[in-house]
Symmetry: C2
Subunit: 481 residues, 2 copies
């Protein structure tokens, strides 16, 4: 059985699915389609043993590439999915796909040059898992011959939002074929022509290779990437189980995609055609398409009602929010508790303009959610008044907030789920559901969850200033300042 390490690229911060995808918590971590997040679904798709038509596939624990802000989201979501991460590499900054993939390849090759790797974005939709496994299995032959395999999707429309792969012959029965060239995102006419010719596939950005072969390809075709990435790996440091690449070396790596840096130059390339459904969910129009519009072209979420509409996407992203559309045509409207997007369906690629406009007016909705994820869990502000704020705080089992104090506020804590261990100055107490604790202004305090189930408490802050930056940290298991 082939043993393949999934390399999940998880550092993106897409704004085209705002308001559901924001810089602080982007689309790969959101349950956009179904109950799992896209990242969880991507990890699950590449998880398990004896998969493929003949049971010839088995996946090793994934290697995840992400950035520092998302590292605890990655481990939390893998944990909830019951998948053990093999390694989590932290990119000091986003440098596109080439440096990230080389870092993964080099990390794997260091322990086993023969290791097989499958690189995949973590924000795509591939509903037909068995068919996808079959395509991966078809790629094993070329990979074992030392080739780099890329996967191409059968186009079903003249899409202008994707790059294409040109083959030297019409796409056949799914067997690996030779690649003629990569084609940039086309205009509409060119896209029509490519769809008609039958020699083109969409470039899905999914690659498979032996780790050592991938490293060799970089060494041959992209030496300007090779050196800084090797240095960043050599100087990487381990931090709470994460592998942090060295920032100084990493900053020397060019910001470039693997297509440009390696694939367009390499000659040992094979393409495996994949005829199953696939989408990069690159905009709300893609979400609408992939969600299965009814005969009137309507897609509605729970909490959404369409009256006399056509070709319309209506989504409510909160249990306490109803959205109603009346007489709409070709409109998409997505509502969260703190932000609403309403756009013509043809303007899906302009959603980033909404984010830019909100950034310009310094609205927090541009980049952040009311729910703020931290290493220990999350909190959300429920209401802010003149001299008070109310928060809901969730602490994971075994997790702890930093030991801290505030200059301007007192806090009342009421536990509503689970059990907290609370430190206030020299006193440590266990506080359980329906019990409360008072933390006077200036007191050194800490909140922990010593239990086996999540702990939820309501915090009522009162004082002249209730901003997040009124905090003095004395000790922090997550090494924050």
């Amino acid at each position: 059985m082939a043993h393949i390490t999934p390399v999940l690229l998880c550092g993106g911060s897409g704004t085209r699915l705002w308001p559901l995808s924001r810089k602080s918590y982007p689309k790969q971590f959101v349950p956009l389609m179904g109950k799992e997040t896209l990242f969880q679904a991507s990890a699950r798709r590449l998880h398990g043993q004896e998969l493929g038509p003949d049971g010839e596939l088995g996946f090793a624990p994934p290697l995840v590439l992400t950035n520092s802000d998302f590292r605890f989201i990655v481990t939390e979501q893998l944990g909830l999915a019951g998948i053990d991460p093999g390694a989590v590499l932290i990119e000091p900054e986003g440098r596109n796909t080439a440096p990230a993939i080389l870092a993964a390849a080099s990390h794997l090759a260091a322990s086993d040059p023969e290791a097989l790797m499958l690189v995949a974005p973590s924000d795509h939709v591939v509903p037909e898992t068995a068919a996808f496994h079959a395509a991966i299995a078809r790629g094993l032959g070329p990979v074992r011959e030392g080739r780099l395999v890329t996967f191409g999707i059968h186009p079903d429309r003249p899409e202008t939002g994707y790059g294409y792969l040109e083959l030297d012959a019409p796409v056949a029965d799914g067997a690996p074929q030779a690649l003629l060239r990569f084609v940039e995102k086309p205009d509409a006419n060119r896209a029509e022509a490519m769809l008609a010719s039958g020699n083109f596939l969409w470039n899905a950005g999914i690659f498979m290779a032996r780790a050592a072969d991938m490293v060799s390809a970089f060494r041959a075709h992209a030496p300007e990437i090779f050196a800084p990435v090797e240095a960043a790996l050599a100087a990487a440091r381990t931090d709470l189980g994460f592998l942090r690449l060295d920032p100084e070396a990493w900053a020397q790596a060019p910001d470039i995609s693997i297509d440009y840096a390696v694939m367009e130059k390499a000659e040992n390339l094979s393409v495996v055609p994949f005829s199953g459904e696939w989408s990069d969910l690159g905009g709300w129009d893609a979400v609408w398409r992939e969600s299965g519009p009814d005969e009137d072209g309507i897609v509605t979420s729970h909490g959404a009602t369409a009256i006399d509409c056509r070709n319309t996407l209506l989504r409510s992203e909160s249990d306490r929010l109803e959205i109603v559309g009346i007489g709409l045509d070709n409109i998409m409207a997505i509502a969260t508790g703190d932000a609403v997007l309403v756009a013509d369906m043809s303007r899906a690629q302009d959603v980033k303009k909404a984010v830019e406009a909100l950034k310009a007016k310094e609205a927090p909705q541009a980049t952040a959610f009311p729910k703020d994820h931290r290493p220990w869990g999350w909190f959300e502000s429920l209401v802010v008044g003149g001299r008070f704020q109310v928060k809901r705080i969730m602490v994971h089992p075994g997790a702890a907030l930093s030991l801290q104090s505030h200059h301007h506020r007192s806090e009342h804590w009421i536990v509503v789920e689970g059990t907290a261990r609370v430190t206030v100055d020299d006193k440590v107490t266990l506080v359980t559901e329906n019990q409360s604790v008072y933390v006077p202004l200036g007191a050194v305090h800490r909140m922990e969850n010593p239990g086996k189930v999540p702990m939820v408490l309501i915090e009522v802050q009162t004082g002249a200033y209730v901003g997040e930056d009124d905090i003095l940290r004395y000790e922090d298991v997550y090494a924050r300042n």
Copy 2:
């Protein structure tokens, strides 16, 4: 100086401005245009002395007609506007305008048959107050001759949503003219023809008369209304300063408008033309029009951003909510914290369908707001969990909640503004900002605001059931069960 009693009709529960107007708190009580609510603006428009071109107008305290649910909203909003209500008559149920106006006329005539009354809806927009006062002043002559005066608005478009008044001659210089007939809401062709003829005005539903003359008109033309309304007044009872009309008698009054019941039959009618701006804000398209669209036809509220839009209304009704429109044409989108309406501008009259659809799925947003107004103030649910709920509660100075207990929940109260007097079983304590109180399950308790400023507290409920109906009331100054 003429002394006129404004009669404000305030019982409506319009659904066409959902989600901002809901049955529990309809549009007249909402700050739809500017900072004051429509009701407050209506009361202020008919408030003051020595008004009109020659200082010939003076207004008595208003007589308000409303229903039981809105009685405390009426007094609270008048109080905030600094206007003393002369009387608040409670209609046991809505019976359209005729019975309400007769009740007001009869109530006024009982103490002074010569009293002048000006009947006005409380949900219209009349921005040019001085011009409106001048029109009222022009109506004083006919009123003193014993005529019933109605006000007609110069039409500036072929509106099909209003009734019309037909004059016996082209509309002249604003002087009172004789009325030929009332015209129902027309179709588009008829509306065009009426606009072209110059003999028609919009029926604004505003009337002025001597109270005794109004009563006489009902006695003459609508005896079937006269008897039950007189009986409902005779059996009315006073309750905390409100005059509650007798429900049994009131139920006998036909559900009919004053136009049908009296005005179309009366012969002593005069029309005062009014050329100032006026709108009944009968839909979001009217709000868009009255809000002054820019040259691209765009109206945005604070918290709303329009990108490449035309003829579009975007409103955010919450400080913590951003709405962004992209590439919209002829769309209106209104977002509150718990509901979003997105509709084609041409479908403004179908917004009631949204309310019907939400009622059918039993969504609370159909009729109620998260903020629930009570005689003593208001509360809103901030979050509901499996076994807990968090509320923000505001209590007016001098107000008190009922003495109560719960079977299924304990409550933690943290005062964040003002001072509370709290009763828990036999103990009464004063609780001020940053202090808390625990109310155990089953304890008999009450919360009061003994102070001079509003008191705000955060209530954290925990227990197996946190519904509103788990309440046993022992004493209530507002006589609720």
